[in-house]
Amino acid sequence: MLFGIEWDTSSHWAFAVSILPILGKGLLVTLQATVVGFLLAAGFGLVLAGLKGMRSRLVAWPARFFSEFLRDTPLLVQLFFLYYVLPDYGLVLPAFMTGALALGLQYSAYTSEVYRAGIQSVPAGQLEAARALDLTPGRTFFAIVLPQAIPRIIPALGNYLVSIMKDVPILSVVAVLEVLNVARIIGDRSFNYMIPLSMVGLIYLLMTLVAAWAVRKLDERLPKEGIHLQ
């Protein structure tokens, strides 16, 4: 029994069906962590991309180093660091928030590159034309560069959303009850790991296939010439 839901061990199929609602509860936490982690990653990544693009080397180089450091160290270790070290300095976050923060930080290194690549992919001729038309730098960025960069940025961000979803099981080490952790607890209590773990594998396969399909559709639907922000 878990979350007050009993399981039925009369047969393999009955067991698989009876644990579905329990796994569903874990799945909900997985999806929440995915969304919160993704929003943090998208936000931090934007800040990091801005800092890395600064003219001042005093800002840009530490930002680049920090981004490289986040990218080159394991999420698991970053998570441990945040979970055990921050409380020593008086910042106690719940496990779920720590996990989402770790996901956000790790993936901000990746998303910052997505923003940079998206903005750089806008042809130089566009900037020259904007200058010829005497647009201010702010207007050039928001009316010319950004609308053309967004259709390239969004699908790439979508791919990282899928990656974040696949990394959420790591949060189980700080006792976040996401779907894999729930499956393991079911295994511990029913002495049957095979069915819950296989079901989590299938659920993941299904979710990533659907997500990959959705990202592809989104990519096709986005107008390649740009999106008007007005």
Binding site: D72, L76, F80
Partner: protein
């Protein structure tokens, strides 16, 4: 003996402040921890090496299989790639470690494999599936004239693939494979969760013992970062080697 040393040197000064007198203690702590951590780092290095080599093998088999004309080979390769890319690595690791022995038990076999084998296999299959897509992309990027020329020279399909196409595709894959090698190094940290005593596992042990989270985890992050820099350097060398036949050097 070790136990006493850890307890003695750290428990009293669990949080060394910025005071200059505590700096030597911090250095002593780091030296004390290093021995323990390095034994774990050795496991991490071995695991990274084995799984990268095995993963590269899977990548070529699956990547070449994916561009095959044979619908069975093509379908099988695509299915395996999608499966391992689509499920979380930790799920695969747990499945191989906890669920596979149960299937073996049902069938009457002993499929309880040592964590090192399970870890290597899971990491290799996972990174191999990602790398297979890189291999496929690089193979498809080779100019179609190369196929035509090989056909005109009467090369067999196998000779064309392994002697004409793959050598030209390898330099194209190298930058992506370099990123994946670092990805693989990072992923090895997950094997600590199936009780393989790698770097992350040893650090967790130390932390449980000394409660000195700040020093240990900072050290751990730096060690992984250092190893990633070494892997990146090695992959740069490999890239230069793979590009040596090109007229202008690399890329």
């Amino acid at each position: 003996m070790k136990t006493g040393r850890y307890a003695g040197s750290t428990q009293q000064q669990a949080r060394p402040g910025p005071s200059s007198e505590l700096l030597p203690i911090l250095i002593m702590d780091i030296l004390t921890y290093s021995g323990h951590l390095l034994s774990g780092a050795w496991i991490t290095v071995q695991l990274t090496l084995y799984s990268s080599v095995l993963g590269l093998f899977f990548a070529f088999v699956l990547g070449v299989g994916r561009v095959s004309d044979n619908p069975f080979v093509h379908g099988l390769s695509a299915g395996i790639i999608e499966f391992f890319r689509g499920t979380s690595l930790l799920v695969q690791l747990f499945w191989l470690y906890f669920a596979l022995p149960m299937i073996g038990q049902t069938l009457g076999y002993d499929w309880r494999f040592p964590p090192m084998l399970v870890g290597t296999l899971a990491l290799a299959l996972n990174i191999g599936a990602y790398a297979a897509e890189v291999v496929r992309g690089a193979i498809q990027a080779v100019a179609p004239e190369q196929y035509e020329a090989a056909k005109a020279l009467d090369f067999s399909p196998r000779q064309t693939m392994w002697r004409i196409i793959v050598p030209q595709a390898v330099p194209e894959m190298m930058p992506s494979l370099g990123n994946l090698a670092i990805q693989n190094l990072k992923d090895t940290a997950l094997v600590s969760l199936i009780s393989l005593a790698d770097l992350a596992y040893k650090a967790e042990q130390l932390r449980n013992f000394t409660q000195d989270s700040t020093t240990i985890y900072s050290l751990l992050l730096l060690m992984y970062f250092g190893m990633a820099l070494v892997v990146a350097g090695l992959m740069k060398l490999a890239e230069r080697y793979a590009c040596r036949w090109r007229a202008g050097g690399s890329v």
